[in-house]
């Protein structure tokens, strides 16, 4: 095990609240219906390739796209397609989705068989067909990340097990419950990426995970576990790369540009499982927690399951629920409806009562500079806020709005409770609009 020497500048000491850390994953049954959106990743949405009335089986591809940056979607259940139409996506916009009434048989589609491959390009194509996207929350298509780089020299694979968001223990449970899959996945990726240096980053508030993987990796000199300081946003790609390797990804550049590929620990583990079974990404572990959840748990959920069913499975919600989040409290997305489905990159479902539901009221900026100290990207959030409010495009450019990673550290520390990230998001949207 290596102890990380550097730590990124800024960030916040967010509370850990890993209440579900010791809760072994429990499997949830097949829901009555699933809703599978055609966009569960960063990139182009898929087109549905099934229609109303079709019979579908587990693992069957039901949506795909010709675009490169995209990932196909598969049916997580067997049953009948009852609707193909537009639904409100968990992110707030309308998106096409396939609704399937389940038959409970979970009959597996004929196409599912352990894959055979004889070259890197075949493996890459398989990974694309598996529908894998970054399972840590971002949802970036895995095959794009892993594609061979002709002009860049990739020498390091970083496995992201930092899990710095409060509450979430989905990655942690994967490390404890499927540790061999993590190591197998790493070996597959080492071959694919032709790298001899793998660093698994885990925050020091998860000593058990560090111990387990350190023991398994002991036989290989190429794989090392790096113990990271627990500080939010340690798991953010750029911060993680810096803490582990000391390399800085320049603004507007990718980890590839500094010779690094970063994969979430769940994604790595999934690849190992997929190579064994050929079953595409149809289910995942979701941490269900928050003060308004009766029985916090880690649940293995079929993708497309309405979140209300997941909460019901965990004993239901307390009556005072005011806010439901997909993802963690720092970067998660608040949900408009409990009918929204679980997506590929849903790592947590959190429910809050009145104590966290409403955000505190904004007051005037006192220029204390705490947001500046907290910003891991070295930006000046107070000035971004000012320029965003006044829709000052030049000002937003000058203060580099597009470099904001929206980690939420500035809003978290602000004593005046200003909605800094929210305004910067609007500012970024304005810049994108002006660019066109």
């Amino acid at each position: 095990m290596i102890i990380s020497k550097g730590v990124f500048k800024g960030g916040v000491a967010a509370p850990h609240r890993k209440n579900t850390a010791e809760f072994e994953t429990i499997r949830m049954g097949v829901p009555e219906k699933v809703i599978i959106p055609m966009l569960q990743h960063i990139g182009a949405p898929c087109k549905p390739i099934v229609k109303k009335g079709d019979i579908v089986k587990v693992g069957q591809m039901i949506g795909q796209s010709e675009k490169y940056v995209s990932a196909p979607v598969h049916s997580s259940v067997s049953g009948t397609v009852t609707n193909v139409g537009s639904v409100v996506h968990s992110g707030g916009m309308y998106i096409e989705a396939v609704e399937i009434k389940t038959d409970g048989n979970q009959e597996i589609h004929e196409s599912i068989k352990p894959p055979v491959y004889s070259s890197d390009s075949e493996l890459l194509e398989l990974i694309k067909q598996s529908g894998l996207v970054g399972l840590g929350g971002a949802g970036f298509p895995a095959h794009v990340k892993l594609a061979p780089q002709t002009d860049k020299n990739i020498d390091t694979l970083i496995v992201n097990g930092a899990e710095c968001e409060p509450y979430i223990t989905s990655d942690y449970r994967e490390i404890l419950e499927n540790s061999w899959n993590v190591i197998c996945g790493i070996n597959i990726l080492m071959d694919l990426l032709k790298v001899n240096n793998v660093l698994i980053g885990i925050e020091d508030n998860k000593p058990e995970a560090i111990k387990v993987l350190t023991e398994l990796a002991a036989t290989s000199e190429k794989i090392n576990v790096v113990k990271l300081k627990s500080r939010y946003p340690q798991g953010a790609e750029k911060m993680l790369i810096y803490s582990i390797t000391g390399r800085k990804v320049p603004p507007g550049k990718l980890p590839l540009d500094v010779g690094v590929v970063v994969m979430n620990v769940n994604s790595v583990s999934f690849i190992a499982e997929y190579v064994k079974t050929g079953m595409p990404l149809i289910k995942r572990r979701v941490t269900v927690d928050g003060p308004a959840v009766k029985n916090p748990s880690n649940v293995d959920v079929f993708i497309g399951t309405p979140i209300v069913d997941v909460f019901e499975f965990c004993g239901g919600l307390k009556t005072d629920v005011e806010k439901v989040l997909m993802g963690g409290p720092m970067m998660g997305v608040s949900q408009s409806s409990l009918d929204n489905p679980v997506l590929k990159h849903t790592n947590a479902l959190l429910a809050f009562g009145p104590e966290f539901g409403k955000l505190p009221e904004e007051s005037a900026c006192i220029r204390c500079g705490k947001c500046v100290e907290a910003c891991p990207m070295n930006l000046l959030p107070l000035y971004l806020n000012l320029n965003a409010i006044h829709e000052n495009v030049d000002g937003l450019r000058k203060y580099k709005a597009m470099d904001c990673i929206e980690c939420g550290s500035c809003s978290y520390v602000c004593p005046a409770k200003r909605h800094l990230v929210q305004s910067i998001r609007l500012g970024k949207a304005l810049l994108r609009k002006k660019k066109v």
């Binding site: 409060p166 409290p329 970067m331 608040s334 949900q335 450019r397 939420g408 929210q422």
Partner: protein, 323 residues
């Protein structure tokens, strides 16, 4: 079910810090200096303090009411201004002048420019300077109320002036300076009391040590180089212990609204304050330069902020191109 769900932009949890908590911390940090003031100048100090605080809070309330703004007296920032103003006044100040000071600080300097966070100069210091120019005699009367018959001597700083013969008798010893002495404005009596408060603010992360250190450090350096009869013989310890540097460096120059937000900017602020203070002390007509130095740097703050925008993480060493 049937609940209405709240939608909001992340983050969905917030830290514990509030504006009010920060302001209360500043008041707590000033308690040792207040106690020290009372010890050396007697209970009259409390009357001055009460006058400035009540005046500041009252004017904050009245001006916000008149301008139809949200009433923000509960954020305690007016209380902080009141306390700082009192500490910057001579102990013998007539109470009505102290009350006018509250009006100048809150209405003229703070609220007319937009309220908290918007003022372009430190309200308490700005008020002190305006009072000084308006009622020079009362503002420079250093008589100790506890010993009204004692001959009012020049403040220790007057002896620093270039061309003055330094008379050993006038100069109190360093330890006395550090622990406390009955000369100067209410808040300047004890370096120890001010340091306790300053360290408390740093410990509570209310202020960063950058401005105090660069302010005091550059003043000491300047005093050492130019303060003596020949270069590099200046009494730098005397330079920083006497007068208002400690009060100014920890409590006035660190005022959020009127100091830069980046570390680089804060270093510039501190060094600017230190150098200007020393120049005024050594070469200009006024005995003390801390107030003017800080006010000058206050008005430069927007420009300092503008020219110290840091490079984005990873973009150091080159001018990043952004969309």
């Amino acid at each position: 079910m049937g609940n209405t769900l709240i939608l909001s932009s992340s983050p969905h949890i917030r830290g514990r810090d509030t504006t009010q908590r920060i302001m209360i911390d500043v008041v707590i940090a000033l308690v040792p200096a207040i106690i020290s003031g009372v010890r050396f100048f007697g209970p009259r100090v409390l009357a001055v303090l009460l006058t400035t605080v009540v005046s500041c809070v009252l004017w904050e309330y009245l001006s916000e009411k008149a301008m139809k703004r949200r009433i923000t007296i509960s954020d305690f920032s007016a209380v902080v201004t009141g306390v700082l103003l009192a500490l910057n006044l001579p102990p013998s100040i007539p109470l009505w002048i102290a009350a006018v000071g509250g009006f100048v600080a809150i209405v003229l300097i703070k609220q007319l420019f937009g309220g908290i966070g918007q003022n372009f100069m430190n309200p308490a210091l700005g008020a002190r300077v305006i009072l000084m120019l308006s009622w020079t005699q009362q503002m420079t009367n250093w008589t100790n109320p506890l010993a009204p018959d004692a001959v009012s001597s020049a403040t220790p700083l007057a002896v620093l002036k270039k061309g003055h013969e330094i008379v050993d008798m006038v100069r109190p010893d360093y330890l006395q300076f550090f622990l406390g002495h009955a000369v100067g404005s209410i808040g300047e009596t004890s370096v120890l009391a001010l340091l306790i408060g300053g360290l408390y603010l740093i410990y509570r992360k209310v202020i960063s040590p950058v401005i105090p250190l660069s302010f005091i450090g550059s003043a000491a350096l300047f005093g050492w180089i130019f303060g003596g009869n020949t270069p590099f013989t200046g009494d730098f310890l005397y330079h920083i212990l006497a007068g208002g540097i400690i009060l100014g460096a920890f409590f006035m120059a660190t005022d959020y609204s009127t100091s830069p937000v980046t570390t680089k900017g804060r270093i510039i602020m501190g060094i600017g304050c230190g150098i200007i203070t020393s120049i005024i002390r050594l070469y200009a007509n006024y005995p003390e330069g801390v107030s003017f130095a800080i006010l000058l740097m206050n008005v430069l703050t927007p420009m300092i902020d503008k020219y110290t925008i840091p490079a984005t993480f990873g973009g150091e060493g080159k001018v990043g191109k952004h969309i």
